[in-house]
Symmetry: C2
Subunit: 301 residues, 2 copies
Amino acid sequence: MIRKLVIFGVGLIGGSLALALRGANYCQTVVGCSRNAAHLQKAIDLGVIDSFTLDPQAAVQDADMVLLAVPMGAMGRLLEQIKPALPADAVLTDAGSTKGSIVAEVEQVFGKGFTRFVPGHPIAGREKSGVEAAIPDLYINRRVILTPLPHTDPTALRAVEDMWRMTGAVLESMPVALHDSVLAATSHLPHVLAFSLVDTLLNLPMREDIFRYAAGGFRDFTRIASSDPVMWRDICLANKDSIVEMIGKLQADLSEFATLVERQDGEGLYTRMSRAKQARDSYIAYLENHKASVQETQDDQ
Amino acid sequence: MIRKLVIFGVGLIGGSLALALRGANYCQTVVGCSRNAAHLQKAIDLGVIDSFTLDPQAAVQDADMVLLAVPMGAMGRLLEQIKPALPADAVLTDAGSTKGSIVAEVEQVFGKGFTRFVPGHPIAGREKSGVEAAIPDLYINRRVILTPLPHTDPTALRAVEDMWRMTGAVLESMPVALHDSVLAATSHLPHVLAFSLVDTLLNLPMREDIFRYAAGGFRDFTRIASSDPVMWRDICLANKDSIVEMIGKLQADLSEFATLVERQDGEGLYTRMSRAKQARDSYIAYLENHKASVQETQDDQ
């Protein structure tokens, strides 16, 4: 049970959490905070939060749970702002798409020994974003990954676990570095690729024809290039090392592929593509078998 | 009106054409030919063809229209086989995904002056393949691209145009080289990327976690990696130059992207990703506006 939940950044992620917890009567009060009063008023009108303030220090007063759901580029400054007023027994958690960067920022502001921060990443999304898109059942059967540190207070961890469990989410725990590598591979790299592919095509002389003749496969493949550039800029900056490493690995694979094509090595191409097809087909079969337990998201970050 | 249509390779593409033409009473007889009698018998049972033979020379006897719908790697040998028996007034066309290679093969077998070959590429597909997946309305509102050569006989071209028009397809005409570049960009490159991405992930130490945590975006993005490796091997070999060129361009773009990430150039990243998002969104808006006229295919090649 949470007494006062403060949500910084009341959009799809924070708003859906608030709706789920309020629906379950798990929160006495939910306070929203951002820099946009009209937007926060809308969140009140939609029944997502109880009240709001534009002042981060006022917001965290008497709070026992604080969720940071602002764009990752805004986290550092926000931490500085709330530091003087954050109650000693409050639990701090976040919803950022990468974990190493926020862990470093919290350490920098609150010190290395700070035990009441629980890094979190709810893997849920919809095509739409913003508080208008918030729904109480967004997290049902969706994954929420927590990456507690060795010195994280077990009580704080349990409080965050309990909170997410109330939303119907499936909880997972893994080290910060593994989280960032896995997400770099499965989410960040595909996004980088989609943005780059569209950009490559834009620079071709026959781009008019290209966009005219592009068909279904291209549409699916580039869907994620329609994602929010601010969020993805922040993710790229925050998960720099893993993303650069993944781009390098893919570049090496692409070079090998190009060499096989150039050498007209049909057998080599067939082997490579069969292996990929087989892995992808097994992955889909795995998903089919686990459909009941964990839902896929439409727009994971 | 076609007297005798011969289809080499009675699968989804050839079978659906046969069903559409028979449904429109546009063919007196449809003869199937491949190396698999059981498969051809099935095509008869399904009402797709009237009769079959395993002998390419017997097949083309008295034919006025011959469609090559075998895998591209099998085209060259087939051309050699039918050459001695192809009637002088028969029209030869194909359904291959690249056009430069088949044009070269036809020239090699029939000579540079051969006027009765009309290179074609029906851009249509379904998740399923094979004659069992053939349907009479596959081509309704789908694009069929023809790439006639300067010396192509206008009567032959008209015969192929009329045939496809009967299926409800939207006809387009463009030069061979443009076709191959545009398809390399919009279809072949995305496929190469999807195959390579899955392969890159397979080689990572944490691949178990990766496939476990991969979510919606990854699934869409790699869907085309489940395509037929034989077909894609042949496409890569046949459209070698364009594909290698496109991989090179994408590699250059990816390197630039990686440099921006490494330099923590947030503005550069934002500019690049916004541009891609805008182009992709306009493309989707364009598609929405043209939905009524040209249908997207599920699995274009």
